[in-house]
């Protein structure tokens, strides 16, 4: 986990990934892209996931594929307790600080 900053930062893309993972529990990179409905791109999702793993927001494991499947095993991502807390705090801040539309 990064030790540069005491307060974790959560950019919008990372917040979206955390939201999707909290909803679905465990997803592959491409499943995240599909579930985001175009908000996440194939080319950057793996880099973002790698960074989130470094920050400790998510954790990953290799799928247990049958031996006849062949190819590389896919990587499944799930949120950590810390990631869930950060998302919850982020949503709280967004709810309370987003200005209401003018009447």
């Amino acid at each position: 986990m990064s030790t540069r900053s005491a307060v974790p930062t959560l950019p919008p893309k990372e917040a979206l990934i955390l939201e999707l993972l909290v909803q679905e529990s465990e997803l592959y990179g491409l499943q995240l892209v599909a579930a985001s409905k175009g908000r996440l791109k194939r080319g950057t999702v793996y880099v973002t996931l790698g960074r989130m793993e470094e920050k400790g927001f998510i954790t990953s494991r290799l799928e247990e594929a049958p031996p006849e499947a062949g190819g590389l095993p896919r990587r499944l991502y799930e949120p950590t307790a810390f990631g869930r807390r950060v998302l919850s705090a982020y949503e709280h801040v967004v709810r309370h600080l987003t200005p209401e539309p003018a009447r």
Binding site: R42, V47, L49, A69, G70, L72, P73
Partner: protein, 329 residues
Amino acid sequence: MTRPGGRLRSWASHVLDPSTMERLIDPAIADLQHEHQEAVRRGLNWRGRVICLIGYGTCWKVLTIATVRHAVFERSAEDDRAVGRAIVFSLVAVLALTAVLVLPVLQSTALRRSDAGTASRLLLYSVPSALVVAVPLGLVFGLLLGLRNRVSTPRVTWSVAALGILCSTAAFIVIGWLMPATNQAFRELAAGRQLLRGFNELTLGELASGDAARLMRVMSGGVTVERLALEFHFRLALAFAPLALAMFSLGARVAQRRVHGLITTVVAAFVVCFGYYTLLNLARQAIYRDSLLSAAPAWMQWMPNLLVVVIAMLSFRRPLAAEPEESPQ
């Protein structure tokens, strides 16, 4: 059957460390392979091909981002951020050398007599000519200083090679097209009238055409097919100087037997740069002075580059046991 992404993965494993491979590249390739396999299993061969195409694009993008991040930002315990240091030092050296080379223009009569707008345009036009010399020299200084007392790893070698190729590509564009245009613009702006062009004001395309009869009409004279060929190869050899000198600097680092001080490294960089350009100019002058122009093959202009690359290759053949045992200062 070969699975998509296998060769790309093998190539990437030479550049990136296992942790980056595991976190970034393998997940992208695994998803590509599974998506492709699923399409083929369902008999959707065309869809499989499209998936491959998109998947390769994705993998290359991930690989590019990972390589840049890995080379520039991440601290490797093994090479102690050697590549990042080399890039930063090279940039600083190129900027400093460009400033030094542009300095005489600031003192020129044409600039002093001009208004602010014209003076700034004159300065701007002189930058490409300065870059032609500043980029290869700055790269030598940056690499020798950045890699000083650092361990040579495959990552360092690949990154320096990529840096050399990048600088040579940029130099090719500057030397081939940008510099001739800005040179002519500078001359005409300074003179205040239209001027006939010299050899330095011809683009690589015009030099390659060898059309002496047509070029006679726009040039100040002395145009022959042999001279055009000679200038073409000289310019091309100059564009490849950053790559040749980058390989040389890397070779010098590999062959280094002990830890060197800062002054020794700076002096070595000066000697390398001075030696290279002296060689380049000697080869050029010898051809003109001895009237070898018609007899000398134009590719002789490549001799300094070839010599530098051969020395670099010989340096690479030295055993890795020559790595310094002392820790970086």
